[in-house]
Symmetry: C2
Subunit: 344 residues, 2 copies
């Protein structure tokens, strides 16, 4: 899978609603050369994550959006091919944010070297990377679960949700997942140790979730918004916490959903049940990175935290895989294998 | 205004929408006698507060609702007429929660003695009572304003809002109020030291509020919900805090408002701007009572906190005054003078 061309996927159009193939474009040109103070990277793994949908809309948000014609952004694990930067040499493995492309010239500032003996290098995009860090901060610092409390997490088999559930289990909580396909729910319970997992495809979701949470809900870690949030919201106990991590069910909305307006009911619940609803973005929590790395690596080593990766082969598959991600087609952390992994 | 009859106002019907006169009933019977371990109180002042609207609905909330035929609940300042409880004697002045009535037999457990030399006894229902405590905890502990930040408060001339604004001023914030009538806005700016105050009756509310908050909004202390919340929400800065104290604009709703559904947009803002939306009920914060009393009494003494009371004469006026409160007809802390104040 080594490539002699620089291949990259650019945004061909800002999507209306769900992204489609024609919103992406695959371009090829010559592999660039690094200048002074730069290095050349070969992409091994590209992370696909729900937040990328937000970057495709031409609206101001917490990060700049991708302009039409620009390379899609994303986290990557790469090998240094050549380096004009002290401290990096050919063969180094690094995690960075170089986007949907086979190669990248980089100034090294956003790169972190990986030790392939410590963990599989792909985990730097998942359980030991941004998604794991997001689970760690969102649950422990924002959700603040106490032993014996009930924690509900949506997208329970996903990169973030699966870590949230296992962290909550370590914190001695009752942990209830919400996922789609039955095999994902089985995985959460049988492999990850969730106490229960219910499917959002079940028309009786509110009743099933209530059954699974006989003591109500103290932390609802929200990755999806929509009907799962609504079902969990009705079960929230007094003083419950709701970390808002994502809202994948709305990422493709181009217009506000029809009425009635559920915001007043939501706020009435916030008031009468003294809830805390708190949005967070992982970039604000870099001070917790070392704690996260130390704790999570230890829990993986001793088998208390498991993870699952869902690989897709070839950069050209990224647009389709990303469209599937927004529909819940992946099962575990979705990663595109862009080039050969020299550690395997 | 001394009374030889026990007069009380009971709930005649659970209101549909806005309460009307026929939802209340005035009954008279003989003044009761206190038994062993009880005392007899004569009501001097009755507090009218927006939260009472919630108590009139037959739905489970953070406090029991008032059943049809029961006396309406509320905070009161009273004089002890006779006492079979050690520590209370005739002539004592107390603040309690004895409801919309001229007299009450009480076991003394919920009563706190007042020192009429320390402050006018009516202030125990306002600036030195529950509304002041609510402003103090909601702004300082939940809103956590920092010097130089911008704080917006709705119902700015009301019992809670006027205190919030002045506390924010003491904390060296820019303080912007939202009120209804122009005289209320003038009062907030000219008497209370707000930097600006805009009217929610102005069709240009969003633009006016934006003009008044050139640096955005760091704390929005919400007493009202509805369109004022929507206007303030759009101005919230990254990491802003929104204490949810009340939502008077929705208290009379019997159905959810029509669409579109604004909750997804709200949650998207919570996520991308990392907002904290936190409901609170003052009962949960009794541990801050002494701090509140010490601080607030000091600030009143040195003139840094002012307050305004809006008196209505006669228990029979309570239903009408309460209906007006929900429409914003009062100007300052609304209090019913039920009986003579012996300290005047």
């Amino acid at each position: 899978m080594s490539e002699s061309k620089h291949r990259r996927i650019t945004l061909a159009a800002h999507p209306q609603g769900a992204p489609k193939d024609s919103d992406f474009s695959l371009t090829e040109d010559a592999v660039p050369s690094p200048g002074s103070g730069e290095l050349l990277l070969r992409t091994i793994y590209l992370s696909l994550d729900p937040y990328m949908r937000g970057r495709m809309n031409p609206v101001k948000s917490y990060s700049p959006f991708v302009e039409v014609g620009e390379t899609m952004v994303g986290g990557t694990v790469s090998e240094v091919l050549s380096s004009n930067i002290d401290g990096f040499t050919a063969g180094d493995l690094v995690v960075g944010y170089t986007g949907w492309q086979s190669h990248a010239v980089d100034n090294g500032k956003g790169l972190r070297k990986l030790d392939p003996d410590a963990a599989p290098i792909s985990t730097a995009l998942g359980i030991l990377g941004m998604p794991g860090h997001t689970a760690y901060v969102g649950l422990l610092d924002i959700g603040r679960p106490q032993p014996g409390e009930t924690v509900v997490v949506s997208a329970a088999s996903g990169a973030v949700g699966s870590a949230v559930g296992q962290l909550a289990r370590i914190k001695q909580c009752r942990i209830v997942g919400v996922a789609g396909a039955p095999r994902k729910c089985r995985y959460a319970v049988e492999e990850l140790g969730f106490d229960a997992c219910v499917s959002h495809l079940d028309a009786d979701l509110p009743a099933r979730l209530a059954q699974a949470c006989p003591q109500g809900v103290d932390v609802y870690y929200d990755n999806v918004g929509g009907k799962v949030l609504a079902a969990a919201f009705d079960l929230l106990n007094v003083a419950a916490r709701v970390p808002i991590c994502g809202m994948i069910s709305h990422y493709n909305d181009s217009l506000p959903p029809p009425g009635p307006d559920s915001l007043p009911k939501f706020l009435r619940g916030v008031l009468t049940r003294r809830l805390t609803i708190q949005g967070f973005i992982i970039f604000d929590h870099q001070h917790r990175w070392n704690d996260f790395q130390d704790d999570m690596a230890g829990w993986i080593r001793d088998g208390r935290i498991k993870y699952r990766e869902d690989f897709v082969d070839g950069l050209e598959k990224a647009p389709g895989a990303f469209q599937g991600l927004l529909k819940g087609h992946n099962f575990g952390k979705l990663i595109v294998r862009v080039g050969d992994d020299p550690t395997l």
